[in-house]
Amino acid sequence: MPLLETRGLCKQFGGLQAVKDVNLRVEAGEIVGIIGPNGAGKSTLFNTICGVYRPSSGEIWFAGRPIHGLRPNRIARLGIGRTFQASRPFQQLSLEANVLSAYGARFHGGWRAMWGRAFTPQHRERARALLELVGLAEHAQTEARHLSLGLQRRLEIARALALEPRLLMLDEPAAGISHEEGQQLMALIRKLRDKGTTVLLIEHNMQMVMNLCDRIEVLNYGVQIAAGTPGDIARHPDVIEAYLGKEVAGA
C-alpha cells in the first residue's frame, strides 16, 4: 500500500482545469519529485493534497485512509508536513515559537490540554532538537523575520517536522537560495529520508531533482505526461518537448 495515493484527482477553477485526472503514488521511504513548466499545476496539486483546495473530483488516500475534503489542519495532524513556495514562517515569533506552534497542535484537542504551558524546558528541548536538525539551534530566540530567505526555508522545514510527519511536502525548497545552501538542503533531505520520512517535492532546480529523487512525476497543463526514474525522465521525449517546445523535440 502506498503512503500517499491520488486517484483520478481533478481541480478546476471556473473554466480552468488546473489539475486533470492525476494518479500519484508515493511509497513510504521514497523521495519523489514533481516537475513541470510554470503553470503546469504543480502547486495546485500540492495545495489540493494538503486540503487548501477541495478536489473537484477524485480521491486522495494517505496511510490507508481517505483525506480528501478534510481541512488542512486535520491533514497536517494526520502526518503530512508541508512548506510553502513563498516561504511563510510566523515572522514575528521566535524560531522556537515557530517550531512549538506546530508541535503544540497535538495538544489542541482537549480544552484542558490547550491551556497547558508551551514553553516548558521539556518542550523547548524538543524545539531545540528540531532546530538543531536544520542547523538553526543557535538562533532559537531570534524572530523569524530577521532570517535570510534560505534560513527561513529551513525554519519552515523544522516547523513541518515538528508535526512528526510521515510525509514531508516541499514546494520549491531551493527557489531563491544560493548553491551552497542548496547543497546543504539536499543533505538535509537525504538525512530526513534516512530517518524514515517520505519526501514529495516540487522543484525547478533540475540538478537537485535529478540527484535527489528516486522517482519523478512530470506535469504539464495539469496532466501527468511522464513518470519514472531520473534517468528515464531525462530521456523521455514528451518531457523534452514540454520543456523545450515542439521544434527542438522534433528536430
Binding site: 489542519n73 510553502f84 515569533l93
Partner: protein
Amino acid sequence: MAIPAYYVTVGIVTGIYIILALSLNIITGFAGQPNLGHAAFFGIGAYTLAILTTQFGMSFWLALLAAAVASGAVGSILGLISLRVREDFLAITTIGINFVVVSIFLYHPFFGQAFGIGGIPAPSLFGVAFGRTGFLALVAAAVLLVVWVSRRIEGSWFGLALESLREDEAAAEAAGIDTRRFKVIAFTLGTALAGLAGGIYASFMTFISPGDFTFPLSITILCMAVVGGLGTIRGPVAGAVILSLAPEIFRFVMDYRLLVYGGLLVLMMRVQPTGLLGRDSVLVRRWQRLIAHRRRPLSAS
C-alpha cells in the same frame, strides 16, 4: 473609608477600561482579528444585567454571569462570521455590529429606547449592599481575573495557536492548527469578558442608555490597547490607565479631549505603531538595557 469618593469612582472607571482593553486584546492583540465594535459587547453585558435584575428580579451575581454568557454568545456568532468575512471586510462588519446593536437598544421598547434602563440594583454580599468601595473591590477582582486569564493564554498552547493564526492563517493550518476553532474561542472569550465589564458598569451606574455603548467607545477601547501595545498584557493595561487618567489630571484639556485623542492616535501610529510598551518599543528596550546593565556586575561577582 478614608479614600475620597471621587478617587474611588475614577478607580472604578479605570478598572472597567482595563478589562475592556484586555478583553479586546485577546481578540485583536493575540488572535490578530480586527474588532472595531467592542463597545457593543460591553453594552450587551450591561443591558443583560440591567434587564435581568430590574425586570426579572434576578440576583446580581447570577445576572453578572448571564451578562458574560449573553455577550460571549453574540461574540461567538461574530467569531463564526469571522471565518467567512476577513480582514478589512471583518473590520467594517464589526463597526456595523456596533451600529446595529446600539440602534436595537435605541428602537426597541424592551430595551427602554432612548430613555435606557434605570434603577439597576447594586450587588450585595451576605446581605450587605455594595457601596463605592465595595464596587472598587469588585472591579479590582474582575481586573485580576482578566489579567489572570490573559496570562494563562500567553505562553499556553492556546496562546501560541492564536499568535500563529495572527501571523499567517494558511501557514498555521499547515502547522496543524485548527484556526477556525481558535478564532471562535478568542472572540467568545474576549466578548464574554467585555460583557462581564458591562454588567459591573450597569450596576455601578444604576442607569444605562444606548449612548453609553456607541462606536466612539469602541475606538477609545481600541486606542487604549494600541497606544499601550497590542499583543502584550502590560500594554493594554498601561494604555487604559493613561488614557482614562489623563483627562482627569489635565482638566484643561477636557474641552480638547477628542482633538488630543485623535492627534495622539495619529502620532502613535507614525512614531511607535507597536505601542508604548509593546514589542520592540523604545521604552521597553531602554528598560531592558537598564536592567541588563544593573545585572551584569552582580553576575560577574
